[in-house]
């Protein structure tokens, strides 16, 4: 992971608050981004991720708090006095200028000699894989091509920080997946510090070095994709990323929770016995295959079985879950081998290391 301690933070965001009238879009947000790091702001719409990006760009300056970029305080500077390139969901390519002119737009203003500009534009278009599209107008390109041009334009002036505002959201699913790896590739090759805003968890998980999960204007969790997925810090993160089962339970004593009719072993750090908790486990972590260890096994009844192509998603019921339906993913192989069907009773195991506990009852 890039979040190494020896690296100097490139961008320091301190106690940022943004208010639109009475509405608080960002509430005391602090964050550090390291040099050459790829950070994703992830959250549902209205969570404040775009507001945070626009504050970093200086497009909508924060109400309180400071931003430091590369050692300089840029808190109150207009966008033109900051150092960043930006790519928008709408591409925002100048429609009446050719691809070449679009990419050269920022360079021409620097009074560079013509041949230098031409060389740089050619280099950039090659970099984004559009070497012979320079004379076309944006409307003559596909969405994916337009977004690449937009990326080339943003990188033309070699900014220290690249901001991507939902760059892939307007594209077709296939193009999106393809461009995802291209952008990530490009970012690693150029080593530019990058912040991307997205509401697509898959995008964030595959592209980011670190993910900042946001909701209601606050940061819920910062961590690597593995941390965010495997050890979600809050019930919100657990629910937002991937699929998660939530079952109400009570802490019996150190290391044991009671869930419905059964007792489960798991880490109960931070919870006292008697506390009401929400027990969370991902469908793919529920195990019906390897039952060699004898703890945390409960007898579940299959109430519903859904074929999802590469696996089955089963819904488990029965007295043990006190009326709650629990989803579990079973491999096709397992379902065939064990003859699992609606109505079958199957022993399943809740591996202790995959169980998360959150305070209070999840609604």
């Amino acid at each position: 992971m890039t979040a190494a301690g020896d690296k100097k933070p490139f961008l320091k965001i301190n106690n940022l608050t943004k208010k639109f009238g009475d509405f608080t879009a960002l509430d005391d947000v602090s964050l550090e981004v390291f040099e050459s790091e790829f950070v994703c702001f992830l959250g549902p719409s209205g969570c404040g991720k775009t507001t945070l990006l626009r504050a970093i760009a200086g497009l909508d300056i924060q109400t309180y708090g400071s931003i430091e970029q590369n050692g300089t305080d840029v808190s109150n500077l207009p966008p033109a006095e900051r150092d960043f390139g930006i790519v928008f969901q709408s591409y925002a390519l100048f429609p009446n200028l050719t691809v070449t002119k679009n990419v050269a737009y920022g360079l021409e203003n620097r009074k560079l000699p013509k041949d230098q500009i031409t060389a740089r534009v050619t280099e950039l278009l090659e970099l984004v894989g559009l070497p012979d599209q320079g004379d076309k107008y944006p409307a003559q390109l596909s969405g994916g091509q337009q977004q690449r041009v937009s990326l080339a334009r943003a990188m033309a002036t070699s900014p220290g920080l690249l901001l991507l505002d939902e760059p892939l959201s307007a594209l077709d699913a296939k193009v999106r997946v393809h461009l995802r790896s291209e952008i990530k590739d490009l970012q690693q090759r150029l080593g530019v510090t990058t912040i991307m805003v997205t509401h697509d968890q898959e995008e964030a998980l595959t592209m980011a070095d670190r993910i900042v999960v946001m909701d209601h204007g606050i940061i819920e969790q910062i961590g690597s994709p593995e941390e965010i997925y495997g050890v979600p810090a809050t019930a919100f993160v657990a629910d937002f990323i991937g699929t998660m089962n939530f079952i109400p339970g009570t802490v019996e004593n150190e290391g044991v929770v009671k869930m419905g009719g059964s007792e489960l072993h798991c880490k109960t750090d931070g919870h006292k016995s008697g506390d009401a908790v929400t027990v969370a486990i991902r469908p793919e972590d529920i195990n019906a295959q390897d039952l060699s260890e004898s703890d945390n096994i409960v007898e579940a009844e299959i109430t519903h079985l859904e074929f999802l192509g590469s696996f089955y998603r089963a819904e488990l019921g029965g007295a043990v879950f006190s009326g709650h339906e629990i989803r579990a993913d079973f491999s096709i192989n397992l379902v065939r081998r064990k003859g699992i069907n609606v109505g079958s009773k199957v022993p399943v195991r809740f591996p202790p290391q995959f169980i998360q506990l959150y305070s209070g009852e999840e609604s």
């Binding site: 109400t63 309180y64 109150n76 207009p78 390139g85 930006i86 943003a154 033309a156």
Partner: protein, 571 residues
């Protein structure tokens, strides 16, 4: 500094971040304040002067509402208000019903020759409102060819005003209704049909509600135009007094400026009311046309199509009859005794009213208005739309820019007399010059042009400015390289709109011209006033030719320009 921020006491509010105002922001704000200041000088201050004038006596002393009391206790004056209301309401009903059916035929049927009906309907925009009145004199006046059709009623009065007004406001209403009827989703009709809804019921539950706001807006526009119009009642009103002619009579006839101001205020109030109501209605209008809407394609229906064709043909004949009679009258040697055709009525220099000079003045004035007006209005709208921060200033600017729409031309003209004729006013030098005519005309037609520009600018990606800022490009470079070229069609529309209106307007300039700056439309009125009706018709036709010619030229020019600047639109 990080340390102090993180350990700051939570109860005390942290310091507000005061955004630094960049060089671009300074330049844009300065420009906006300058244009906004000019607008204020040319609209707000004159109106204020007029309002205060209405509360003064002839010795310029403040007398409160005494003038208004006098006005409302003088039956002859008070009656005019009722008359204005009456003709405005009748004309509104006539025009809206006609325009709706006409627009429906154009947008929702498969009737033939739609292009012809579209062109004919726009003819009145090319002529001064006076032309309709003059034409009516020849049709139904004392020596009119079709006088018998009126069955003893006189055309000089409410009948003439309603017909003449309906003629010239028709295209204004039609354009709004066509737009309202064009934005619909075909799927609504498919849904209605699949639910076996009758055609009549579909009309009342889908069609009408869909264009409700457009219709209401058209009603307000027509009402205000007729209520405040001066040209038609001046020519054909006879002894039937309306507010607009009262203002003229008080000011020009009796030199009673105070009472003129009072009548202007009475004229202004319903206009502002209609304007405010329209704004509220417009705000309620939500976008009916989502990006996924399917455009409506009418299916042939021979019975409906032929009825509609008949109706449109009838309306088109009426419009052509108005224009045709004016043309015929202009060419006739001596109506009705010598119907031989000749050009003697075009010999304007031997008549009162300004002669050919007036015509050339008009062209000059219209060109200045089109060029200067377009630049200022587009730039002003750009600053409001694309500026960053400074929200109060931008909102204020937008509000002032909306104001001219609510002010009748005659009221604006009178307000200008009060304001610019004052020797203590630093702008006094403008009085009686071509400059004041241009300023009055630009101001009078500011709002519609401003809204056209705003609409075009709003359609552009708001992030263009963000991108250019991130590329450290100054705003004016992006304005000239991207924004303006992309908006060329709208810019051309604005210049055309300003030119046509400058050529045909009477009300805004009637108080402001001097003997050196007489205008063609004013000459039409003055010649008509002096009894030279045929030359008046000839001059009105000169205006019509010019407008038609310029319109054609404009179409060719736009085509050429679009080829050069809009090539990117083709895939």
């Amino acid at each position: 500094m990080t340390a102090t921020a993180t350990t700051a006491n939570e109860t005390s509010a942290p310091p507000l971040v005061k955004p630094k105002i960049g060089r671009d922001d300074w330049m844009m704000r300065t420009c906006m304040v300058v244009i906004g200041g000019l607008l204020a000088v040319f609209i707000v201050l004159p109106l204020y002067t007029m309002l205060s004038k209405s509360m003064e006596n002839k010795a310029d002393e403040f007398i409160g509402l005494a003038n208004f009391t006098e006005y409302f206790s003088t039956p002859a004056l008070f009656l005019s208000a009722g008359n204005s209301m009456q003709v405005a309401i009748i004309s509104t009903v006539v025009v809206i019903v006609t325009a709706f059916i006409y627009a429906y035929a154009l947008t929702r049927t498969c009737m033939p020759f739609k292009w012809f009906f579209r062109i004919v309907a726009l003819i009145p925009l090319l002529t001064p409102s006076l032309l309709g009145g003059i034409s009516l004199v020849y049709w139904f006046g004392n020596q009119g060819v079709a006088k018998g059709l009126l069955m003893g009623e006189s055309i000089y009065g409410p009948i003439g005003i309603v017909i003449g007004s309906s003629y010239w406001v028709f295209p204004h209403a039609l354009m709004i209704v066509i737009t309202a009827l064009s934005i619909t989703d075909a799927r609504l009709y498919e849904a209605a049909e699949s639910l076996r809804t009758s055609k009549i019921k579909t009309f009342f539950t889908v069609t009408l509600p869909g264009c409700k706001y457009g219709l209401i807006s058209a009603c307000f526009v027509v009402f205000t135009l007729v209520f405040t119009d001066f040209g038609v009642p001046k020519v054909i009103g006879g002894n039937f007094n309306v507010l607009a002619t009262d203002v003229y009579k008080q000011v020009i006839g009796q030199q009673n400026f105070q009472m003129g101001a009072v009548v202007s205020v009475v004229l202004l109030v319903p206009a502002i009311f209609a304007f405010a109501a329209d704004r509220i209605v417009q705000k309620k209008q939500v976008a009916l046309l989502s990006a996924r809407a399917v455009p409506y394609e009418p299916k042939p229906d021979s019975k409906r199509d032929s009825i509609m064709f008949g109706f449109c043909l009838f309306v088109a004949i009426l419009i052509i009859a108005m224009l045709g009679m004016a043309q015929f009258a202009a060419l006739v040697t001596f109506w009705p005794y010598n119907l031989e055709l000749a050009f003697n009525n075009y010999d304007f220099d031997v008549m009162d009213g300004g002669g050919w000079d007036a015509y050339w003045n008009s062209i000059k004035m219209a060109l200045y208005t089109a060029v200067i007006g377009t630049i200022i209005i587009f730039f002003g709208s750009y600053l409001v739309e694309k500026g960053r921060g400074f929200n109060t200033g931008r909102t204020l600017f937008h509000m002032v820019a909306m104001l001219p729409l609510a002010v009748p031309g005659l009221v604006l003209g009178l307000a200008y007399i009060f304001f610019f004729n004052n020797p203590n006013n630093p702008f006094n030098f403008m009085y009686g010059t071509m400059g004041i005519l241009v300023v009055a005309t630009v101001t009078h037609f500011y709002t519609v042009s401003h809204l056209t520009a705003t609409t075009a600018l709003k359609q552009m990606d708001p992030e263009f400015e963000s991108v250019s800022a991130s590329l450290k490009t100054p705003f004016y470079k992006t304005l000239f390289r991207v924004t303006l070229p992309v908006c060329i069609p709208a810019v051309m529309d604005i210049s055309m709109y300003l030119f046509l209106n400058a050529m045909t307007t009477v009300s805004a300039v009637i108080f402001l011209y001097s003997s050196d700056t007489t205008l063609a439309a004013v000459a039409v009125m003055n010649m008509d006033d002096a009894g030279d009706i045929a030359p008046a018709a000839a001059m009105a036709m000169m205006i019509a030719y010019t407008c038609a010619g310029v319109r054609l030229l404009h179409a060719l020019l736009s085509k050429g320009l679009n080829k050069r600047t809009q090539a990117w639109r083709t895939r």
